[in-house]
Amino acid sequence: MIDVTINNITVSVPEGTTILEAAEKAQVHIPTLCHLNMPNVRYVNKCSSCRICMVEVEGRANLVPACATEVTQAMVVKTSTPRAMSARKIVLELLLSDHPADCLCCPKNTRCELQSLAYELGVREIAYKGEQSIYPPDVTSCSFIRDLNKCIMCRRCETVCNNVQTVGVYSAVDRGFDAVVNSAFGRPIIESPCTFCGQCVSVCPTAALTEVNHTRKVLEALNDPDKYVVVQTAPAIRVALGEEFGLDAGTIVTGKMVAALKQMGFDKVLDTDFAADLTVMEEAAEFIDRVKNGGRLPILTSCCPAWVKFFEHQFPDLLDIPSTCKSPHEMMGAIIKTYVAEKIGIPAEKIYVVSVMPCLAKKYEAARPELVNDEMDNVDAVITTRELAEMIRESGINFLELQDEEFDHPIGQSSGASVIFGTTGGVIEATLRTACEWLTGKPLNKIEFHELRGLSGIREAELEIAGMEFRIGIANGLGNTRTLLEKIRNGEVHYDAIEIMACPGGCINGGGQPAHHNNWGILEKRSRALYAEDQRKPLRKSHENPSIIQLYKEYLGEPNSEKAHALLHTYYQKRELV
């Protein structure tokens, strides 16, 4: 252990501890900006580039960055000397001198880490003014906007994209004052192998990376008397939306969310969980078909659009192993514009489907040209959890006081299996509940597969079903996914089924979710809430959902039938890396 004195408080910390970590232990606050520590995904942004956390260390000629300097025995640190404080403030003023001061209409207004820091450090004027960088915004993607004028070179996006997700879209380019984080050759993001997972947006401290905002588009649809606006909400929304209104992480707000959506004027409020059950039906059938007829294994889940784009770019030789199922909200859109349209007697052309998703890649997915039926997009607009909260606030709804309401029918029913789609391991557990019963022909003794749960990056389990051994793999985070897929490609490991989610932790940590501020505890709470919701449901298995049974009986026939294929399945294509 190492004894270190910070502002006259001595603490004992293990070797390798940084001054910042030791200061936390001593309950001394050191302001930071570029620093981001997420040990659970083995991700630490220690680039020490912003120079905000500078502190004085006795015996060192210069100030040192607290976030990246390891403590040494008997080190004496002073964090709030006039020298350190004035240096910090001037460094922050320098950052602000090259930043558009348009906070009033900035998408990150009041949620911007740079803005908060300016408040915390009491910035009242910018003494050092001068030339400002001017970059045209990159609005080419359907998922997020890059406004490099607001980039402060914290490099978090670069680290998360290169080191955690291993997609490698970003790098610092150019030198000196012109240095900025950009894509290869400065090309628009749409021409890059970006998966639109949105993890970069999640970690961006300013509005350099923000989602493409569809709230106005949705409001216009609601305002259009000729449109019948149907909204669907993904499983992971109900356990995170409350945080935007000051509730604890993991508070389940399904009823209030439905009530808010109804107040806002949506004609029908449906649950994407229903489509998750539908996905289980299709995917379990596809899995059993491959098992019984010697198809290529493992089968890989295909609910995650960022993961789909990832394998199209990175593993084009494995295009035939993912399931051909569309993601649940796209299935939902297809069913709404056909089956539901017929049921409620509204022409499909008039129906406008809005998906509320925890995800930025879903915005991109909704615009994929092949996800159409009868020349109509399956989904017309996608808004994130954050955008939904924005709309609720804008509508003046007192969210916390809302009385719970129920999802609309005819397809409002869903099983517990579908709820856990929102967390890593959930999709495969839900699928196995159905696949096991279909393979054995007997009801499961034990519905919960605890061996598949948890938040670690790569997990696996061996199951015996109907006398057959099945090896199940789970990966979350694209870096972990790459590790797993490379092993499969090289024939080092064999799996029968693998679930993949692009975001570390799954959809509970999607790029459209409320900020978790490096607090992995928040993700654990969201995950636990989903499993609790599953437990509370009277129905636990997708194939027992009466609405699902009815849909197949009245409309689709069998899982994987020709009609099911036309509406619920898709195909993939090879994409270039450069």
């Binding site: 240096a87 460094v91 402060i152 790098s171 030198r175 000196g176 240095a179 900025v180």
Partner: protein
């Protein structure tokens, strides 16, 4: 043949002397970049053609490196059988004909255009007292040997130091010698080389690396290039010694792609040394193996910073990272790595052969040995000099450098490039060594020295260096990326005549913060030119902002050109050369300048034959 033992090497060296009969005259043509740029290729061809035409059998022609008198290139040295040397300067085709007919054919050396440098070269085999002002240790072979011939290097005791290490010294023994010699890093910081080696040696790792930092980037510094072009093998040998001492088997030379001749000669040297078994597997028959790769840099100044350099070799963006951990602990590919500069390596072999006591008998106690300086600016002898540490600025400028151009007044000298500062005329008698320079707010840097006279504006000089840092910053940390830009903008404001006293305060405040908070050595030292000129020449800054004048009459926004009525003879020359036609006047009548149209290019003043135009 392959050298398989110490005896093999000794025998081979002997054979080089035994086989060939020495010609009566050896003609050395300086063919480093400076020579070639001045026409040394033509000189060499002329010698070859003339000697062939005349069928002179007693003349050996040899290409060699730079002897340091770059301003007199092309240079050819004629050495006769007795070892008498005549150094001819500015040798063009006509001069070649003269040298051949008078000196080579008739034994009568020319007396015109000849220099006698006050210079002594060390000889690895014997110790001689220091007699001359310039003492060449690092540059000992430059201008003497053929850099493309390994044999020539071996003739001058090449690879003897490596052999001594491999056969007579333990790795620790080598480190102790280097430590005791007191050799300090010649690349800028001046850290103890022996200590650095011992840190790497101490690390317990299966793979370690040796890097030679040849990313010479300071404006006006070219000693590393000169060494690599003139004596590439000395660097390879020293790197192998470093590898033996620290337990590393891989060497990398990180060199800027703008040094094609150095790269070419290094490649030739690596190939020849590997062929002879002096590099590669089982060097000289021992179980020590060491290979060297060349890595080309793309010309980013910051890649001279060791951690940025390592990133660049790894194929990453060349930007520095936090130290510690130092490269000695976690360097290239995360492995312990020893990074030294070219000139540092150039000192290794002499220290091994002649001993640490010999080395620290030169120079000062804290900065032993010699240092190569690149003299440039308003000095008569522009070029490379190597002098013992501790020489005073006065000796450097007036004795070695030949004084200020046109006999003008010396004002200041800038050392250490964009990371250094100025030393004013008041400190002419300060000895030059690492610590004294730092105490004056400058630094040794790589040894660039730019001499400035009364016509140089100190604010403008600070702006020049800062602009370099602004452009060469990697942009990673805020103080360097934005701070230096703001600092530069304030200087621009001052030189444009719009500065205020508050701007001078801001320069000091911001400069101090950048020094205190920047991530790497480049950022931490980038305000030095500003802070040191402010320290020694604050009155010049004040003149710019309060009196709105530039005392050196350099800043164009603050000066005006006038025609003196008593001197103008109305020749119209000024009006004819004025590029914006803003000078009025009839023939034989007084001319005048329309001030608001004048762009202050100074063409009129240069053209005027009656000295009638002045700037104020």
């Amino acid at each position: 043949m392959k050298i398989r033992s110490f005896d093999d090497l000794k025998q081979y060296k002997k054979s080089l002397y035994g086989n060939k009969k020495t010609a009566k005259y050896t003609v050395l043509v300086g063919m480093a970049t400076c020579g070639v740029a001045s026409g040394a290729n033509t000189t060499m061809t002329a010698f070859e053609e003339t000697v062939n035409e005349l069928g002179l059998k007693n003349v050996t022609l040899k290409r060699t490196g730079c002897i340091g008198y770059c301003f007199l290139e092309p240079i050819a040295e004629v050495i006769d059988e007795q070892g008498n040397s005549t150094i001819y300067t500015k040798v063009d085709k006509a001069k070649v004909a003269e040298i051949v007919s008078s000196h080579l054919q008739n034994g009568k050396p020319l007396t015109e255009g000849v220099i006698k440098p006050d210079m002594q070269r060390i000889n690895l085999a014997e110790v001689k007292p220091i007699q001359k002002r310039q003492l060449r240790v690092a540059l000992r072979n430059c201008g003497v040997i053929d850099p493309e011939s390994l044999d020539d290097y071996i003739k001058y005791d090449g690879y003897m130091a490596l052999a001594k290490c491999l056969f007579e010294l333990t790795p620790n023994g080598v480190i102790e010698i280097i430590k005791r010699s007191g050799l300090r890093g010649r690349g800028g910081g001046g850290f103890s080389t022996g200590l650095k080696w011992s840190f790497v040696a101490k690390e317990n790792a299966p793979v370690k690396n040796i890097i030679c930092n040849a990313d010479e980037g300071d404006p006006g510094a070219f000693m590393d290039r000169s060494i690599l072009e003139g004596d590439p093998n000395s660097i390879l040998e020293a790197m192998a010694i470093a590898g033996y001492a620290t337990g590393a088997a891989h060497g990398y030379i990180y060199i800027r792609a703008e040094y094609p001749m150095a790269v070419k000669r290094l490649k030739i040297a690596i190939a020849q040394a590997t062929e002879m078994g002096l590099l590669g597997d089982n060097i000289m028959g021992t179980d020590f193996s060491f290979d060297i790769q060349i890595k080309l840099g793309a010309g980013a100044f910051v890649c001279g910073e060791e951690t940025a350099l390592i990133h660049s070799i790894e194929g990453k963006r060349g930007e520095p990272k936090m130290k510690p951990p130092y490269p000695a602990k976690r360097g290239l590919w995360g492995e312990p790595t020893c990074v030294n500069n070219v000139e540092t390596y150039a000192n290794i072999c002499p220290i091994i052969i002649k001993g640490d006591q010999w080395f620290n008998s030169m120079g000062t106690t804290k900065s032993p040995g010699t240092k190569v300086f690149a003299l440039a600016g308003k000095i008569n002898n522009v070029g490379l000099v190597e002098v013992p540490m501790g020489i005073t600025l006065r000796e450097m400028i007036y004795d070695v450098g030949g004084g200020i151009v046109d006999g003008k007044a010396f004002k200041a000298i800038q050392t250490g490039g964009p990371s250094g500062g100025v030393i004013p005329y008041t400190m002419l008698d300060t000895p030059i060594e690492y610590d004294s320079l730092v105490a004056m707010g400058s630094m040794m840097g790589s040894g660039g020295m730019i001499v400035m006279d009364e016509d140089d504006c100190m604010v403008n000089i600070a702006k020049f260096y800062l602009e370099f840092s602004v452009e060469e910053s990697c942009g990673r940390c805020t103080p360097c990326r934005i701070g230096n830009k703001r600092l530069f903008e304030i200087l621009e404001k001052i030189t444009n005549g719009n500065g205020t006293m508050d701007d001078i305060r801001k320069l000091k405040e911001l400069g101090r913060v950048i020094k205190d908070t920047a991530l790497c050595g480049l950022g931490q030292t980038s305000p030095n030119p500003v802070l040191s000129t402010l320290h020694f020449f604050e009155d010049e800054y004040i003149a710019h902002v309060v009196d709105r004048t530039c005392p050196a009459k350099t800043c164009s926004s603050l000066i005006r050109y006038f025609i003196m009525p008593d001197k103008c003879i109305g020749c119209t020359l000024c009006a004819r050369v004025c590029p914006v036609s803003c000078i009025d006047g009839e023939r034989k009548a007084l001319h005048s300048i329309r001030q608001h149209e004048c762009i202050k290019c100074g063409a009129c003043m240069d053209a005027c034959k009656s000295n009638a135009i002045v700037k104020r």
